[in-house]
Each structure stands twice: as structure tokens, then as C-alpha cells.
């Protein structure tokens, strides 16, 4: 009897272990960077680091738990050294993917997750396996956007239909994300890999036109996932793949926010919409080309802030055995057209990032990256900082995956 009980207990324990999938990552760096204070420290610099020293770049635990009836729970718990909130979830989603014999299938997910618009952030924990400093577009997505809602997907895997083409149509509706657009309007695009966590707050420089009572009278921080206007947003995405060789993704996003809505913290809802086009083509087994273009606009108040923004990157990545070299060019422009000239939100810039990453075991990776950018933000003048800045940053990174 005892043996039987032990067997049952062991079986249950084994099932629990088997049904969990745990993946984790620790990434630490030594940075050599310029000293322009970054936005997280209330400066106007667009790079994550402003001191030559060691940093904990990423630490996270990715947990997947199978549940009955085709449900899966997936969470990513992150710990950061920098930023406002240093421990929390960057993703927490319940996924429903039923088995189906049909050629057109469907799946859904609910929770707090990234829209799958990036072909750059394809590693565990929404990291990029290519460069450490991410593109301007996906730096922004990581810091200010998440879907707190539900997403439904119709999809058709090409191999099931004996076709080279696979497709997906994704539709989501979500709450929160009302302040989306504030960061790129006031600070401009930045280039980094710090992802905001659920409940996080992102700091900004104390631009007088933003914080003064005579101006917009807004805090010099935003809470990216805060619900302000009680309106739901929507997005629709279309994926088209040719075998595993070529991928194309289009997303139209509109948070449908009421730009005149304001909460007690004096955080506004920003009406933000964009089109995003992402493309990847594998030129060979070793080499791939990845690109993304985003164009959109955001409005806050009664045209108090209105900007059009465009951002683009083109990346070439090549793998030689356990070595990978990636080179990316970024361009980003924010152009204002609003009623308050004192709050000038013109900014633009470009960046070049070159990274080498070497997997010296399955768990351990070393990397070197050098990034340069030239960026201009007119509102720096209000803080007695030169509008145009040339920033650069070198990183030596050690990564362990488990």
C-alpha cells in the first residue's frame, strides 16, 4: 500500500515537473558610453547607460505551464537594476490553441502581452538575438506598448495545405496603453532594450513646457499601461510567410483613446495610431535581412500635442558557426503640428549598431556591441542642452541561459 502511495505521489510530482517549462536568462555588461544623462534618470539621452561601469542588463524567468483543454499559461518575470519598477511581469498571458484538423484554424490569448509585430524580438523574453541595443521602433514598443486584453487569431499553416504560403490574421482589443505616444513626442525615439513591466513608470526630463502649470502641467513621467479614458483600443495584424524563408507582417494599431481624458495624476490619454510593416528574408541559411517601417501619429489634449512619426530600420545578420554578426541602420523622425509652439516636439536622428555574439556553450554567450547615433530634439534647448547630440556606447556582454 505504501509503495502504491509512493508511486502515485511520484507520478503526480513528475507530471508537475514535466508540465512546467522553465527558461531563464541573466545578461550582464560592462559599458563604455557617453555621459549624457539618460531619460530614466530624467535626462535627455536616448541610450540606456550613461556611466562607464558594469550593469545587470536583463534577468528573467520565462515560465510556461500546460493547463487542461488546450490552455497554456505563459509568464515572463523580469528583474532590472535600472528604471522605476525593478521587479515585475513583462508578459503574462493565457493562451488557447485547440487542436484542429481544419486547414484554417484559430487560437486566442488573453492577458498582458506583446503584439507580434516585431521580427527583431524573436528570442525568449522578447529579446533580440541580433543586437543588444534594439531598433528605435522596438525600443519604443518595449517601453510603452503592451496588449492588456484579448487577441483572436485565424491562421492557416501552409504545410497542412501543401502550399508554400502560411498566413495569420490577428485581431485584438485592449484596455490601458492610453499614454502611448508621450515618450516619443517629448523625448523622441530612444535606442535600448529596457522593457517596461506591468505597473511600471517611465521617467522623462523635466521639460518646462510639460511640467509647468502655465504649460501642459503634466508630470515628467508616464505610466504606460494605465487606463485613463475607459475606452478600448484595437489592432489588426496580418502575417504572410513564404516557407520559413520570407516573412511579412503588417499591423494597424489604434488605441482609440480620448485625447481630452485626464486622470487625477494629470496623465492624459493619447490618441495613437500607426501602421507597421516588418519584413524578413533569409538570403541563405546563415544570412538574413530584417527590416521594419512604422508610420503613425499621436494626439494629446485638444491638439495640445500632435505629432506624426516615422521610423525605419534595416538589419543584416550573418552567422558563422557559433558566431553571429549583425549590423543595423535606424532612422527616426518625429514632426509636430500642434497649437502650442512653446512645447516643441520636433526630433529626429539615425543610429548604427554593430554587434558580435558568440555562443561558446549552449548556456553561455559573449558579445561585443558598438552603437553610434546622432539625434536632435528641439526641446533640449529649454533645459540648456544642445539640440543635437552625438551619442555612442560600447558594450561587452556576458549572457547565461538556463
Amino acid at each position: 500500500m505504501k509503495k502504491r502511495l509512493l508511486f502515485i505521489l511520484f507520478s503526480c510530482f513528475h507530471f508537475e515537473i514535466a508540465a512546467f517549462e522553465l527558461n531563464g536568462l541573466i545578461q550582464a555588461n560592462i559599458a563604455a558610453t557617453d555621459s549624457l544623462t539618460n531619460w530614466q534618470e530624467n535626462g535627455t539621452g536616448i541610450l540606456r547607460y550613461d556611466q562607464d561601469r558594469a550593469h545587470l542588463q536583463h534577468t528573467f524567468l520565462d515560465v510556461t505551464k500546460e493547463l487542461p483543454s488546450s490552455f497554456t499559461l505563459h509568464t515572463v518575470l523580469n528583474a532590472y537594476q535600472d528604471g522605476n519598477q525593478q521587479l515585475g511581469f513583462s508578459q503574462a498571458e493565457l493562451i488557447y490553441k485547440p487542436l484542429s484538423a481544419d486547414t484554417i484554424k484559430w487560437q486566442g490569448r488573453a492577458g498582458f502581452f506583446y503584439p507580434k509585430l516585431s521580427l527583431e524580438n524573436v528570442d525568449t523574453g522578447w529579446l533580440s538575438p541580433y543586437t543588444y541595443t534594439q531598433s528605435a521602433i522596438n525600443s519604443w514598443i518595449g517601453e510603452e506598448q503592451r496588449t492588456a486584453g484579448i487577441e483572436v487569431t485565424a491562421y492557416s499553416p501552409g504545410r497542412v495545405r501543401k502550399s508554400p504560403w502560411s498566413w495569420q490574421i490577428r485581431f485584438a482589443t485592449f484596455a490601458g496603453n492610453d499614454s502611448l505616444g508621450a515618450l516619443i513626442s517629448w523625448r523622441g525615439f530612444a535606442m535600448h532594450d529596457r522593457q517596461s513591466l506591468y505597473g511600471d513608470r517611465v521617467e522623462l526630463a523635466p521639460y518646462p513646457s510639460v511640467i509647468n502649470r502655465e504649460g501642459l502641467w503634466h508630470p515628467n513621467w508616464i505610466e504606460p499601461f494605465r487606463e485613463i479614458d475607459d475606452r478600448l483600443g484595437v489592432y489588426v495584424g496580418a502575417h504572410l510567410d513564404y516557407y520559413t524563408q520570407t516573412k511579412f507582417r503588417y499591423y494597424y494599431y489604434d488605441n482609440l483613446a480620448d485625447p481630452n481624458a485626464l486622470n487625477q495624476q494629470r496623465l492624459y490619454a493619447w490618441r495613437t495610431r500607426y501602421h507597421s510593416f516588418a519584413f524578413q528574408h533569409r538570403l541563405s541559411k546563415q544570412t538574413r535581412l530584417i527590416s521594419q517601417y512604422m508610420t503613425g501619429s499621436t494626439e494629446m489634449g485638444d491638439n495640445f500635442v500632435f505629432v506624426d512619426y516615422d521610423a525605419f530600420y534595416l538589419m543584416l545578420s550573418h552567422r558563422m558557426n557559433q558566431h553571429r554578426v549583425s549590423l543595423r541602420y535606424d532612422r527616426f523622425i518625429v514632426h509636430e503640428d500642434d497649437t502650442i509652439p512653446e512645447d516643441n516636439n520636433e526630433s529626429n536622428g539615425y543610429g548604427i549598431t554593430l554587434a558580435w555574439r558568440y555562443n561558446f556553450t549552449k548556456q553561455w554567450q559573449l558579445g561585443l556591441e558598438h552603437h553610434i547615433n546622432r539625434n536632435t530634439a528641439v526641446n533640449r534647448e529649454s533645459l540648456n542642452i544642445a539640440q543635437e547630440q552625438h551619442q555612442q556606447q560600447s558594450l561587452f556582454v556576458v549572457q547565461m541561459k538556463f
Binding site: I17, A18, A19, E21, T64, E66, S70, T72, H74, I95, K97, L99, A101, Q107, R109, K116, L119, V122, D123, P129, Y155, P157, G158, R159, V160, K162, S163, P164, S166, Q168, Y243, T244, Q245, R282, K285
Partner: protein
């Protein structure tokens, strides 16, 4: 005397064995490897449950892509990848689903009905594999030259061929043969092959796999 009798039977049996060679060529006279060729004898052959075959998951693909087995064979589904798979089949001959967690083992499944089983993975939608369960111990797959050879007892057989790319009329893919001596049978396919779609086997290491 008994030993002599056994030796006589063995000798007779050996002398009755014939070599049977099957070649398969496409309408363009190209070769097609991995075609399953199987011979069904006149008398049914009972196969006790004993064999274990393997259908592995390697680099997010089924390995082998086509697995022929005899009825009543157990198939083990290991997971050589460091990520989860969720293998399933909706085929009449065997409906099942099998979650394969990283680093865990599952019991082998019994395939006790003849027929074609199409395998998919509910995590990696591009994965496709086949298990063909045949009611005979005489089966094999063509080599790179499109040829397969059998050594088997002289008898009457029904020869059948199958491959997912072959779309000929089924009646053209089945031939009755009486094997009395070494024989070479040639199958010339009439219809164009379906596209291989082998590009799906070119796995992207960063596939951003969907749940």
C-alpha cells in the same frame, strides 16, 4: 533423424527465397527516394506486439519524415529538442495527441490498425510527418536511386507503393506478382509529383514559435 528433417526444411525454405527488386521512376525519369514499397502475401501474417520504432523530434521536424511500420508496432516519440512539442494525429488509423515536454519521456504508442497517419505539432505548425502502418512484414523504402530490394519467400504478393508526393491513380500503384525466381519490377509513375515543400525542413533558428 530429427536434425536432418529440420535441415531439410531450412534448405527447402532457403531455396524458395527469391530476390525481388522494385524501381520507381517519375515521368521525367528522375528517381524518388523514401517511397514505401510493401508486399502483402496471400496469407495474413499475425504480428505480435514486440517491435518498437522511433519517430523523433529534431530541430523542430519529425525524424524520419516517413516511418513505415508493421501493424501492432509500438512507436516511441522522443523529443531531442530543448523545447516543447505537442504531436497529434486526426487520421482514422490512429487518433491521438501527445504533449512532449523538454527532457521528459512518454510511453510508446501502439499502432494496431493499418493505414496512413499524418502527424502534426500544435506548437510548430510547419512540422509534418507520416507513419504508414502496413499489414505485412515485407516493407522497405527506396534508396537515393529509387530502388528497393527484398529477399522473401517465393509466393504470390500484392505490391503497393506509397509516398506523399505521388498522386497517380491508386490502381496504378498496386500490382499482383507471383514470385518464383529473382524478379525486377519497374513502376513508371504517370502523373507529375506533387511539390516536395522540403523548404519547410529548412528550419529558422529564430522561428518565434507561436503557442
Amino acid at each position: 533423424m530429427k536434425i536432418l528433417f529440420v535441415l531439410l526444411i531450412l534448405f527447402c525454405h532457403t531455396s524458395n527465397a527469391v530476390s525481388f527488386k522494385v524501381s520507381i521512376s517519375t515521368p521525367q525519369n528522375t528517381t524518388l527516394p523514401n517511397v514505401v514499397v510493401y508486399l502483402i502475401p496471400n496469407k495474413a501474417v499475425n504480428n505480435p506486439i514486440s517491435e518498437i520504432s522511433i519517430m523523433d523530434q529534431v530541430n523542430q521536424q519529425f525524424k524520419p519524415h516517413i516511418l513505415p511500420i508493421q501493424t501492432n508496432t509500438l512507436v516511441h516519440f522522443p523529443n531531442s529538442d530543448s523545447i516543447k512539442h505537442h504531436v497529434y494525429s486526426f487520421s482514422k488509423a490512429k487518433k491521438f495527441e501527445l504533449p512532449l515536454y523538454k527532457g521528459s519521456e512518454t510511453d510508446p504508442l501502439l499502432f494496431d490498425k493499418p493505414g496512413l497517419i499524418e502527424l502534426g505539432c500544435n506548437v510548430h505548425d510547419w512540422m509534418l510527418g507520416y507513419i504508414l502502418v502496413v499489414d505485412t512484414p515485407h516493407f522497405a523504402q527506396t534508396n537515393a536511386e529509387g530502388v528497393v530490394e527484398f529477399d522473401l519467400p517465393a509466393d504470390k504478393y500484392k505490391v503497393k507503393v506509397w509516398h506523399p508526393r505521388i498522386q497517380d491513380n491508386p490502381s496504378h500503384l498496386e500490382k499482383a506478382v507471383t514470385l518464383k525466381e529473382d524478379t525486377h519490377l519497374q513502376f513508371k509513375l504517370m502523373s507529375e509529383l506533387l511539390p516536395s515543400h522540403e523548404e519547410y525542413e529548412d528550419n529558422d533558428e529564430f522561428s518565434d514559435y507561436e503557442f
